[in-house]
Amino acid sequence: MIDLLTTKYNYVAAILLMAGGLYMVIGDRNLVKKVIGMNLFQTGIFLFFITTAFVDGGEPPVIAEGVETYVSPLPHVLILTAIVVGVSLTAVALTLIIRIYSEYGTLREDVITEMETDD
């Protein structure tokens, strides 16, 4: 257990971020917090990818003299794309939340459901 925490703490952090994010998406009633949870979940995945790129003693993947070992650049590039996707999703989600707030005057999911069934 101690060994896991001292040598593989990146993976532990990735799992904690994912689990925490997923819990926020499911458990929280506030729509903005759900979106924050969604972002946390994605951040956990990003951390997992970046960790897998690490090579012990590796240098950043920019060709330089006297460097023999580089970390793998591909996961970084993939995550750069995934971050852009994540930002776009957050933007769309926040736009929808603004519209929901202007129509219902609340961000609580349970209150919105109540108002919808009353209609």
Binding site: Q42, I45, L74, P75, S88, A93, L96, E103, E116
Partner: protein, 345 residues
């Protein structure tokens, strides 16, 4: 005419840009742009289908980087048909939307982005590229659902967005697992490398579970279907028609791709069946005593063929024959260069 493969994806995305820019000057130009773009996409889909029917599977290397390092688009029998379905429904819904609305260029911009994303999911041969196109499809679909007039449509759109994003993120995590296990992202290459990594490996099984679960959220399979009723009933009519006809369908196609192209664990049975045929032929040969197929208990893909002959000459005659060489070549293809030859006297 393999260029049609890339055009089927790129044309709608450019059409979306043109629709957006043209909207600054001509307010009602969106429909014309969308109709022309969908017509061009249908043309590309037809060309792809005819080429595939005539010449078989077609590949297109993007930017000239050859796979597995580069990304490729692939059109085979299934994807060419799904592509034709996407293009046909896109054009039909545009025709319907002229009467039913919604009007305005913003709608048609999103619509064309969705069409481009669906074409991308259908034709891509790279698993990470599939994630990106799934998200393009998703983003356009979330915004289209929320473009309905009713107050509920924004709530339905947000629900769809949150569930869809969780699904796509699980898919991304599965891509990560598969990449860690194999070091490649190309689907065809992945199928070989995953078989080499072994289907009993936890990493490979984890990748399988995450990829399929992520896609099933997009397919809206029970019990991860809860986004679907709200999204369909609160979206504008044209959008309901389009996303119910295509978005889940293309996601289901993606599941089939992952199940049949990427994960291919039934090669072993194929090999064992083939071996039975070969065994039948061997039994009739001169000087043959018996031949058996033995499997390693620890790794069932690790197999050993033992063959007993009356005399060395009889065996050598068989080993130098054409039939034996053909069988070995076939075995190499199927088992990814695994057969090893050990001759025991």
């Amino acid at each position: 005419m393999t260029d049609a493969i890339v055009l089927a994806v790129v044309v709608p995305i450019f059409g979306a840009m043109i629709s957006l820019i043209a909207g600054l000057r001509f307010e009602r130009s969106g429909w014309t742009v969308a109709a022309l773009t969908c017509l061009a996409q249908l043309g590309a889909a037809l060309v792809i289908l005819f080429t595939v029917v005539q010449d078989g599977k077609q590949r297109y290397e993007l930017a000239g980087f050859s796979p597995p390092a580069g990304i490729e688009l692939v059109a085979d029998g299934i994807s060419a048909l799904v592509m034709l379905l996407v293009a046909t429904v896109s054009l039909a819904v545009v025709v319907y939307a002229r009467q039913a609305g919604p009007r305005g260029n913003a709608f048609y911009t999103l619509y064309l982005l969705l069409a481009g994303g669906l074409a991308g999911v259908t034709l891509t041969g790279d698993i990470f590229n599939m994630y990106v196109f799934l998200e393009i499809t998703g983003l356009a679909a979330y915004a289209l659902v929320a473009s309905g007039d009713s107050t509920k449509s924004a709530v339905a759109g947000l629900k769809y967005l949150i569930l869809g994003t969780i699904g796509a993120s699980l898919f991304l995590l599965g891509v990560g697992y598969a990449y860690v296990a194999t070091g490649t992202l190309n689907m065809v290459d992945l199928s070989e490398q995953l078989a080499a990594a072994g289907y009993s490996s936890r990493l490979v099984l984890g990748a399988f579970g995450l990829l399929v679960t992520g896609l099933l959220v997009k397919v809206a399979l029970f019990p991860v279907h809860t986004w679907q009723p709200g999204a369909y009933s609160n979206a504008p009519d044209s959008v309901s028609v389009y996303i119910s006809a295509l978005v889940s369908t293309v996601a289901a196609y993606a599941v089939a791709r992952v199940l049949y192209t990427v994960f291919t664990p039934d090669y072993r049975n194929e090999f064992v069946e083939k071996f039975d045929d070969v065994g039948g032929v061997l039994a009739d040969m001169d000087g043959h005593i018996e031949t058996r197929l033995l499997a390693n208990v620890g790794d069932e893909n690790d197999m050993f063929i033992s063959s007993r002959w009356e005399a060395k000459e009889d065996a050598m005659e068989f080993f130098s024959g054409d039939a034996f060489r053909e069988t070995v070549d076939w075995g190499r293809d199927v088992l990814d260069d695994r057969p090893r030859h050990v001759f025991l006297a």
